[in-house]
Amino acid sequence: MDFKKVMDEKYKEILEGYMLDPSEIALYSSQKFSRKAIEHKISPEDVVSLHRSLLSELHPDLPESVHRSFDILLEVMIGYGFAYREHQTLRSIQQELNNEIDIAVNMQNTLLQTHIPNLKPLDVGAISVAAKKMSGDYYHFVQNKDHSMSVAIADIIGKGIPAALCMSMIKYAMDSLPDDYHAPNSVLENLNRVVEQNVDASMFITMFYGMYQVHNHTFYYSTAGHEPGFFYRQSDQSFHTIEGKGLLLGVDKQTKYQQYEHTLQVGDMIILMSDGVTECRTEEGFIERDTLLEMIQQHLHLPSQELVQTIYKELERAQDFQLRDDFTLIVIKRKIKIRGLTRLFKGY
């Protein structure tokens, strides 16, 4: 109540000053006044009403119809007042929701955290960024007892909270797989049954599951409709799409998955990703897979982790910092042996 009087006085001071001497300072003061009024929940119709009464105070001689005209402006401003007041509650609802989501994101991160296995002949890098706060992309590494490494990458069709809930389920399902269960096709077949049973019919998951055998440097993999990645061949510096077919998880309980394999030479690379990488939408349209390869080529010399981070930064900027989809990029490089140094390393 008292505060309103102070604000009224302030407005009067600004208005009187400006009517005598129109200066930029007065206008700047108005902007500051506006900010303060909004902070203190003064409605726009209050401001119009104040303006009207000051005007008749300063110009008692104005025609009645001029005063009257403010009735109309006031009435219209009440509508804006509605919007303004709704905005205030919506904003606090939004903030509350944001806090909730932040907590949920933390839980999700704890749940989904994965360690990149430290296998000496491999240099592995991975990055995953959510478009919204909660990710519907998922990746997971397991270092198996037989010196192989499993890698999973998955993408829920859908984003945000439901995708995140679905993701948790996949994680629980993977956790309850027996320890010695590595064959990519059987893993996908098993997960497919879980998804089919537990997730509603409108939700699908694409997944790529691979297993890198260190002793023969062969990568075994199966795909459930997942965005194809690339193999990079160092000998002729060429990229090859990772071929492979398979139905999405959750479509048909009976789905069988085919298993493929590919052997890597030193310097060769496996590049896995979610469609969020290729669906980066820049001002010129979606980026082409070729453009992506050019980017990768440019930074090939970098260690894998730096490589994926650099690619992400470039694509983030290209699309004006607004990710349209969750973004996951994994690079697995078979290290180049450096003569003399290899002797120092044992175990592979």
Binding site: E45, D46, S49, D71, L74, E75, I78, G79, F82, A83, Y84, R85, E86, H87, T89, L90, I93
Partner: protein
């Protein structure tokens, strides 16, 4: 003794009549112009709801006194379809038809007291009060 004046809402002219009635009472009681306009807007919203969603209904206006306060009470009553989910209808940002921030939550925010009672296929009664400060 309280006097209650009512307007049956059948067409848009009746909305105007209800507004006029409310404005007169508010003015008589000594509400300022902004509050007059707010009370009128609230009446308008309630009357519009009757006009749009219920076949029969009326808006009643009465002066109320409570200890040492006076105020204006608006009663909106209809025999329309009723509101199946009151929690939903009182949710912010829910109405898409009512425009930004309008609808019942908007009315509730404009006024000091607000209560709603609705039974599906019987009707809805909304009572709202604004006190003179």
């Amino acid at each position: 003794m309280e006097i209650q004046s009512c307007v049956k809402i059948i067409n848009e002219w009746d909305i105007v009549a209800a507004r006029q009635l409310g404005r007169n009472v508010a003015k008589e009681l000594g509400f300022g112009t902004v509050d007059q306009a707010r009370i009128t807007t609230a009446i308008s919203e309630l009357a519009r709801n009757i006009y749009l969603y219920a076949d029969q209904g009326q808006i009643c206006i009465e002066k109320v006194t409570n200890q040492n306060r006076t105020g204006v009470k608006i009663i909106s009553k209809d025999h329309g379809p009723g509101i199946p989910d009151l929690r939903k209808v009182m949710e912010d940002g829910y109405t898409t038809s009512g425009g930004l921030g309008a609808g019942l939550p908007g009315v509730k925010r404009l006024m000091d007291e607000f209560s709603i009672d609705s039974t599906v296929s019987v009707g809805t009664e909304i009572i709202t009060v604004k006190w003179l400060r």
